[in-house]
């Protein structure tokens, strides 16, 4: 079974963070995720949206789509923009604690089981995967 939810952020700007957080947590709840997993994904979604705004739209406004797919083994969130910038390296290493930048990719990697960057027909996507072993509704607060 695959269920799909979608958030369309037209003309999104830097103030879009809380809307994306609230939508992600609601969508994760509807998908049966526990609070910790929902929070992890919301944290990752914000970094992906920031990535679109900073690198895709050069901190101007632009359209961003966020979709959540509930699959048998995992939940998959895809953040897509039509900007022109380059995404950060998907294999970003551990940031230095004293470095003033470079934490966004690290946060996504640490809060998700898998992070992919995809390019297709002028669209750039960040795909965030959370496997189901971590998202049992009755494992409230558990973080395996």
């Amino acid at each position: 079974m695959t269920a799909r939810q979608e958030l369309v952020l037209l003309g999104a700007g830097a103030d879009i963070a809380l809307e994306a957080v609230r939508w992600t947590e609601l969508a994760c709840g509807r998908a049966g995720l526990n609070a910790r997993a929902s929070q992890d994904l919301a944290t990752a979604v914000i970094e992906a949206v920031n990535n679109s705004l900073e690198h895709g739209y050069a901190l101007a406004t632009g359209d961003i789509n966020v979709t959540l797919e509930t699959q048998a083994e995992c939940v998959v969130i895809t953040v897509t923009d039509r900007g022109t910038g380059l995404p950060p390296s998907p294999s970003a290493g551990t940031p230095s604690p004293g470095a003033e930048r470079g934490r966004g990719s690290w946060i996504m990697q640490q809060t998700c089981d898998e992070v992919r960057h995809e390019f297709n027909a002028g669209q750039q996507s960040v795909v965030l995967v959370k496997r189901r072993r971590q998202i049992s509704p009755d494992s409230h607060g558990d973080h395996q």
């Binding site: 830097a14 103030d15 809380l18």
Partner: protein, 116 residues
């Protein structure tokens, strides 16, 4: 101004807004760094009201830590909510800046003194 400042002992306490994200991180950083430049290099950043932060917000905090230290001061973080604390720990920001739950202790630490 998005930040309220007050003085306690030898330190200034800056109460940060309810979110610390891309939309306001540059403003927050600028306001705190202006304060540091005016001589208030011993600072406590009160995070009690911050419901949500992202990497942009953490970068702003770290820039302020570095600014304060360049001027011979110190900056500490006070009372983050669990969600914000989790992000601080995830990114190991707590390796470079003290995170303290008690205001008096935070002020003492920022002032370079042992807690009373």
């Amino acid at each position: 101004m998005t930040i309220e400042f007050r003085t306690r002992g030898n330190a200034e306490i800056a109460r940060l807004p309810d979110r610390l994200v891309l939309a306001n991180a540059a403003t927050v950083r600028s306001e705190i760094q202006d304060r540091i430049a005016s001589g208030a290099s011993r600072l406590v950043l009160d995070l009690a009201a911050v419901e949500f932060a992202d990497s942009s917000g953490l970068s702003a905090i770290l820039a302020c830590v570095n600014s304060a230290r360049r001027r011979g001061g110190e900056l500490v973080l006070l009372g983050p909510m669990p969600r914000v604390r989790a992000l601080i720990e995830l990114t190991r920001l707590d390796d470079v800046v003290a995170v303290i739950d008690d205001e008096a202790t935070a002020v003492a630490r920022a002032s370079g003194k042992a807690a009373a």
